[in-house]
């Protein structure tokens, strides 16, 4: 069950010719796929295209109506290889994953696909996780497009342009027998906008046709001598075909081409931000009517030499706006201009940052530098030096064109808010237990993986030494396997395990006779990508096969020492099991499977059921933890061993104490971690668990009356004695 349900949004996928679609960018892409007549879609979830997968999962009835096969691929490599169906048959297919990590995984299949070329349109939709909020290394998909020769689309971030890019992408792919990559930046995926829908289209040639009439063409298979032919074909046939198509269909756009003798070349994805910068500088209006000629490259690769030369003709200088590094486009432009003997001066990373996201503020600065250099803008007056008085806070000079720099003193008061485990997360107690083991056995080398569990590297746990990629936690500790007083610990999520960790980590450890410990976090979903089902999910999923235990797979590849902890909230139990794995004399890899359902998903599923049960008058017990403010002394050890968002602090109500006391917020889901940690770590007696019984039975009420009678009588006596001394 995915984190977000798209059942409502999916209705928009049924819109037909002329109706207005309103919604998110990624949903518009889905609609565009339906309008393009795809026969199959596959992918692997991950920000920012998780929603695309979730929408498709919720739209299976519509897909079935259109005869579309939809796969939740095991990995991005699987997804990319799925495109093989378009090699021999006129089948349109699309796959999607997160870039650049997904592209890395998929690159083997992508390279083979690109070498042989395609018959049906093959579209690879990559969610570019670059810039603010990104959780991965900062690289560009552009390099993959160049090395395998896949055409790369980077459309302007508005819904009509994005939808058009999907449709034209298929046509371009077919016209040039080359797969096409559509790059969508994170903000474009989530942008809300409108476009006029078209009718959904059913493919003429179906998967059934392909299966029943298999076709074979040895020249499309990557094996010598065909592979050498492919290389020639790429540059002699497919590339020129693509360029012809791009030119003929005007995929790239020119604005106010001849308005001035300077101009800006910008990738489609950065168009809106650049336009805002120009508008603020008085060089454009809010509708995009610009005084500075613009060449908008909705196709980021390949460059169209003719268009570049046409744009630069008669211009003194052009500025290229190209986000990220290396500056592939800038280098390519330089070659084009140089070889044509063009006198146009080329600017790019000399006026814009070499690396880092091209934010509105950065583009404003770059465009201003360009405008000033060529006399289109007057330099900003240098502010007169003001005598420094010690201010409460320095407020920078105001003016949109002179964005205020953040004031320094505030930095100390505004803390980072790193992502952490959710309230009630079953992964928290695993790391609490590891902290306790650390205090007994000393620190160990921890090879971390990708997934929610990676938040352990942040405060308060500070556990984890390296992370090498999704599912590669086990592999990351492969070398650290020598006779020593300690064993290395590897982390792996269930998502990573099924993605490749079973082979790259576990099987590899068996084969190479590793002695290390791998902890597999089994929370029933690929939680970090939005809670999608996987093989080991417990949920019944009508269109997927679930319930395949990780333990069986691990034993299947030959691990002898396997333990499954069925309730991670048992901190002491977790601690003891990890200790055993780290100290046992038994040789060979140790695998500890830590099971408990992702709380985010569990709550989403159970909350409505509990509400319903209470409304129906059924007896329901709700747990909530709390801290006694008069016994808490404000040391916050409990917080350092948990980091739960619901475990916070508040001003100490005790007039004699100053340190804030711990407190449990309303959002507590009563997972029990607080209590177990305070037991296992022998913290303090301040934690209590309140059990609130809704719709109590008659027996409940009777017992309560007896208890309350006796306890109340004793409490009143005690209170009276104290009251005598009160003042």
């Amino acid at each position: 069950m995915a984190e977000r349900s798209f059942v409502e949004e999916v209705k928009k996928l049924r819109l037909t010719e002329g109706e207005l679609f309103r919604g998110e960018g990624i949903l518009a892409v889905t609609k565009a796929l339906l309008e393009s007549g795809v026969s199959y879609v596959a992918g692997y979830q991950g920000a920012p295209i998780s929603h695309l997968m979730d929408v498709l999962a919720d739209a299976q009835d519509i897909l079935a109506e259109q005869g579309i096969r939809f796969e939740n691929s095991a990995s991005e490599a699987t997804a990319a290889a799925t495109l093989a169906a378009s090699v021999n048959y006129p089948l349109r297919g699309a796959v999607t994953f997160k870039a650049t990590v997904g592209t890395n995984v998929a690159s083997d299949a992508l390279a083979n696909l690109a070498s042989g070329g395609v018959t049906g349109g093959a579209l690879i939709i990559v969610g570019e996780d670059y810039g603010e909020g990104s959780s991965i290394m900062q690289e560009r998909s552009h390099a993959f497009a160049m090395k395998s020769q896949i055409w790369l689309l980077d459309p302007r971030p508005n819904l009509p342009s994005i939808v058009d890019a999907v449709k034209k992408g298929f046509e371009l792919s077919e016209a040039s027998h080359t797969p096409v990559m559509l790059q969508l930046r994170i903000r474009a995926c989530h942008v809300h906008g409108q476009f006029v829908a078209g009718a959904n289209r059913r493919a003429d040639f179906t998967l059934k046709d392909a299966l029943e009439n298999p076709q074979r063409d040895v020249s499309r298979i990557v094996l010598p001598p065909a592979s050498f032919v492919h290389e020639q074909e790429k540059v002699k046939e497919r590339w020129p075909a693509a360029v012809r198509f791009i030119e003929a269909h005007k995929l790239n756009e020119f604005f106010s081409e001849d308005a001035d003798d300077i101009g800006i070349i910008v990738q489609g994805g950065s168009y809106n931000t650049l336009l805002r910068a120009l508008e603020r500088l008085g060089l454009a209006d809010v509708y995009g009517r610009t005084q500075v000629p613009l060449y908008v490259m909705n196709v980021a690769y390949p460059l169209v030499d003719n268009e570049v030369l046409r744009f630069c003709m008669g211009k003194r200088a052009v500025l290229v706006v190209e986000e990220g590094q290396p500056n592939f486009v800038e280098q390519n432009l330089a070659t084009i201009l140089r070889q044509a003997g063009s006198p146009t001066v080329l600017h790019g990373k000399d006026m814009l940052p070499v690396a880092g996201e091209y934010t509105a503020a950065e583009l404003l600065k770059g465009a201003r530098a360009f405008g000033e250099r060529y006399g289109r803008l007057q330099p900003l007056p240098v502010p007169a030096p003001v005598r420094k008085v010690i201010p409460l806070k320095e407020v920078a000079q105001i003016g949109v064109d002179n964005a205020p720099e953040p004031a320094l003193p505030l930095d100390e008061n505004v803390h980072a808010r790193p992502p952490g485990f959710c309230t009630g997360c079953p992964e928290r107690p695993i790391f609490s237990a590891m902290k306790l083991v650390e205090s007994e056995l000393g620190p160990h080398h921890v090879s971390a993986d990708i997934g929610c569990h990676l938040f352990s590297i942040l405060p308060p746990f500070n556990i984890g030494n390296t992370t090498m990629g999704y599912g590669l936690g086990g592999a990351g500790a492969a070398a650290l396997n020598a006779p020593a007083g300690k064993r290395a610990i590897s982390m792996m999520g269930d998502g990573g395990f099924w993605h490749n960790g079973l082979t790259s980590g576990i099987a590899n450890a068996v084969f190479n006779q590793s002695d290390n410990l791998t902890i597999v976090v089994d929370n029933n979903y690929t939680s970090a990508t939005g809670g999608q089902d996987i093989l080991s999910s417990k949920a019944h999923n009508p269109t997927r096969s679930t319930g395949h235990a990780i333990e069986r797979a691990v034993r299947g590849v030959g691990v002898q020492w396997v333990r499954t902890m069925r309730r991670t909230y048992d901190v002491a139990g977790m601690r003891d099991m990890i200790k055993e794995a780290l100290t046992t004399r038994q040789k060979g890899p140790k695998v500890l499977i830590a099971q408990s359902e992702c709380m985010l998903n569990k709550q989403r599923r159970e909350k409505p059921l509990v509400r319903k049960a209470i409304a129906e008058g059924k007896r329901v017990v709700r747990d909530k933890f709390g801290v006694d403010e008069d016994t808490c002394t404000g040391d916050h050890s409990c917080i350092r061993l948990s980091g739960c968002p619901s475990l916070s602090i508040k001003t100490n109500p005790d007039p004699l104490r100053t340190d804030p006391v711990a407190t449990v917020l309303e959002s507590c889901v009563g997972c029990g971690n607080c209590g177990d940690v305070s037991h296992a770590a022998v913290l303090c007696p301040s934690f209590y668990k309140a059990e609130i019984v809704s719709n109590p039975t008659g027996w409940d009420r009777f017992r309560q009356r007896v208890r309350a009678g006796v306890i109340g009588w004793l409490q009143r006596g005690e209170a009276k004695r104290r009251a005598a001394y009160a003042f």
Partner: protein, 499 residues
């Protein structure tokens, strides 16, 4: 060229706070009322408790038609170019100021004044909180207009969420070209939790339109104590007679605490000890005396099992739990305590002789150790659990005979003696010394760590003697609270050549 500008709105929120809902409401309101609306965000891992920004732009449709164009709307805010900033929490408002999104020429900042503490603030060994007044001052100075109140409280009061309160404050601030009815119609179109949302919206709207922003009631002057018990009256009168008025509130509190903790005599001992401190040279603010009075009361009421049991079984505590757990009419409540008494704590609770015997005995000691290896959950709301804890609380009677009492009193006397001898020549240093009690707190390992740090500081103090600057002692104290492993403290001791 048209000079009309889009309306630019940034929303700063944390994952799960409904920032997305708020953005969607604004977009829906815009689209329903003749505006081209666009919103986007970078959710990513921010869903998992991180901070994130939602950005909305609105442009009048009629203007676009008149000008014959479609506006190109931006996907991220440009610092210095934002009309309205909505922040769901005070530090997030600070973040907006930090990022340059709030500027005095145009930005209306609408923020909740409540705090959701950062992990750095929460996990400090002492008090790591950022000063809200600082954040408020920054925001006030940066914004053209700063609309603020505790919106978490407002949300709770109307049984809704903070996004509805922010939406109401946005309407009330009157910075968008939409009427109250248009705002409310948007909530109704949303169709989820409409009634509570409208309630929260209305309250926030009224609050924002009203003149009063964040008026705090003046603290009521403390009433003169009215003891009824003659012996208590004697203690109160002694405070009034023998001590400077500035000390009275703290001393009253100390007396109150120690009668509750032990008995009248114990409170008398407290005043005896304080009398020797009151005789020391004092500055105008009586800082040394105040700090000693506070910390002495805390030390004398050190946390032991009997104290915890007494506090846990009170009627007032049962009521507090009832409130915190949100128990409603017709629901029943059970209270479970997580306790982990170990041999050490049991011996400390038993009468002196018995405790010492058990601590040194062979087989009985091992038996108790085995029985206490695991923590216990005690249900205080059951007869069995309640009576058990009352029995433990009764151990107060022989507290004076316990080994723990002897140890704590030895330390207290030593501490007081140090304060007294230091104060003669250096009252400021003595005041810092008094505050070192702050390190000794908590239970079991936490208590042991605190005590270790305290001993380290006292040893360093002993070594340096009166040559130690008050600031150095303060610095060492803060260092002891910087990390659990004592790393910072060790570094600092080396730097000051005090090892």
């Amino acid at each position: 060229m048209s000079g009309t500008q889009p309306i630019k709105i940034a929303i700063l929120a944390m994952g799960g706070e409904g920032g997305g809902v708020l953005a969607d409401w604004i977009v829906d309101m815009g689209e329903a009322n003749g505006y081209v609306a666009q919103t986007t965000s970078v959710p990513g891992v921010a869903q998992r408790t991180g901070a994130t920004i939602y950005y909305v732009e609105l442009y009048p449709e009629a203007q676009a038609e008149a000008d014959g164009g479609r506006p190109v709307l931006a996907l991220m805010p440009l610092p210095g170019d934002v009309d309205v900033v909505l922040a769901s929490e005070l530090m997030e408002a600070g973040r907006a100021v930090q990022r340059g999104l709030v500027t005095a020429d145009r930005t209306t900042l609408i923020a909740s004044t409540h705090r959701v503490y950062s992990i750095a603030e929460k996990s400090a060994l002492g008090d790591g909180r950022v000063d809200s007044a600082e954040l408020l001052a920054h925001a006030e100075k940066a914004a053209k207009r700063f609309v603020r109140f505790d919106m978490a409280q407002a949300a709770a009061a109307s049984g809704s969420v903070i996004s509805a309160v922010l939406f109401g404050a946005l309407a009330g601030a009157g910075v968008l070209p939409f009427s109250r009815a248009q705002f409310e119609a948007t909530i109704e179109r949303g169709g989820v939790g409409v009634k509570p949302s409208l309630r929260a919206f209305g309250a926030a709207f009224a609050r924002t339109q009203g003149a009063g922003e964040d008026e705090k009631p003046l603290p009521a002057p403390a009433a003169a104590p009215q003891p009824r018990h003659p012996a208590v009256r004697a203690l109160v009168e002694r405070v009034q007679r023998e001590f400077a008025p500035a000390l009275h509130p703290v001393l009253f509190e100390g007396v109150r605490r120690l009668i509750d903790y032990q008995d009248l005599d114990y409170a008398g001992l407290y005043l005896d000890r304080m009398a020797t401190i009151a005789a020391l040279p004092a500055d105008e603010a009586h800082r040394l005396q105040l700090e000693t009075a506070r910390h002495l009361a805390l030390w004398m009421s050190y946390e032991d099992t009997a104290r915890v049991a007494a506090l846990k079984t009170r009627a007032s505590r049962f009521d507090r739990v009832r409130g915190e757990a949100g128990v409603e009419e017709g629901q029943l409540l059970a209270i479970n305590e997580y306790m982990h008494p170990r041999l050490q704590e049991i011996c400390e609770t038993l009468p002196g002789g018995v405790g010492r015997w058990l601590l040194n005995a062979g087989a009985p000691r091992r038996l108790v150790e085995r029985l206490t290896r695991k923590g216990r959950v005690i249900r205080t709301s059951s007869l069995h659990g309640y009576l058990l804890l009352r029995m433990v609380a009764a151990a107060r009677r022989w507290r004076r005979s316990t080994t723990r009492y002897a140890e704590e009193n030895g330390r207290i006397e030593q501490w007081l003696e140090r304060i007294r001898s230091t104060a003669i020549n250096h009252p400021e240093l003595a005041a810092e010394l008094a505050q070192c009690q702050r390190l000794v707190k908590g239970y079991s390992d936490t208590h042991a760590r605190g005590l270790r740090n305290y001993d380290t500081l006292m040893a360093a103090f002993q070594r340096a003697g009166a040559r130690m600057a008050p600031a150095t002692l303060r610095e060492l104290r803060d260092a002891a609270l910087a990390d659990e492993q004592g790393t910072r403290l060790r570094e600092l001791l080396v730097r000051h050549a005090l090892t």
